[in-house]
Homo-oligomer: 95 residues x 4
């Protein structure tokens, strides 16, 4: 699949925010691995997994909002007939 | 919160499976971070995020199934009145 | 598909609760149809649809909890090897 | 809350489609009520509930797609600063 890029670079502050959220999620995942190694109670492991699910969902929402505010807005203004179909496909994929 | 542990150790094969899935998810997250650094198109980033969401959901389901087959089954057989309430709470948390 | 029945009848109070929730959901759906007929703003229609989704999810959770507390508990005590696999399949189907 | 309306009437064919889907969902809900009255097995009731959840989600997606293609597109072209924030709020509400 050919690599596609944003027309404009992401806002620096938002990029740092997304990167630090991803680092935190990776930290949480390492914590879950340790819980599994320590044979921790399943219920407690599942609570941590659901916390990571929520954190990941937040990352998705930030990227989606930025997408709507930049690419989608520009394409709508340029009367791109496909842009909203793509938005729906993304919405259906995300949890 | 006091640390709770499983009564029996997790099956070795399942533990390896869970750990390798977590490592793969971490790899995917590192890939997403690189996409953000490279200013890759939001739609493509979102597709990767939804892939990680599905991979994480699978990890949750594996842990939940193991929980049902071990802790929950044992507690049900011991007529623990609270076990199914706990299962519902976990189900509601997980995406 | 051959009709299957619960071993014990549902609790009367819970049955009334489930039935009144279903009636309310049907009322909400009739309301949504009227909003569509009145060409009401999509955002307001979508808010009502999400309210029905939540109400429907609650009905599912009540039935699932009752299932866990009765059929699943009994089958676990009878060492039914398939019961938890069925529970997982139901969990994966429900939103 | 003050009643808001779409700027343009919904497409007739789509309106009929949405109304028939809602009628079908109401029929399914009546079927679920009968299953509860007949003390049908919880697992079978839950399968029907998940079918209604999917049908309802489809209705939401149709309304959301129409919203994106009409109201949102028009507001984006009019440089409405709030439109994408509203879209995100709707996405977060829908299952």
């Amino acid at each position: 699949m050919e690599c596609r890029f944003k027309d404009q670079p992401r806002d620096e502050k938002e990029l740092r925010n997304l990167k630090s959220r991803i680092h935190r999620i990776i930290g949480q995942l390492n914590g879950i691995e340790k819980m599994l190694d320590d044979n921790r109670y399943c219920g407690d492991v599942l609570v941590q997994i659901s916390a990571v699910e929520s954190a990941l969902q937040s990352v998705g929402y930030i990227v989606l909002k930025d997408h709507l505010e930049t690419c989608v807005r520009d394409k709508a203004k340029a009367d791109d007939p496909e842009v909203m179909t793509e938005v729906m496909e993304l919405i259906k994929k995300l949890k």
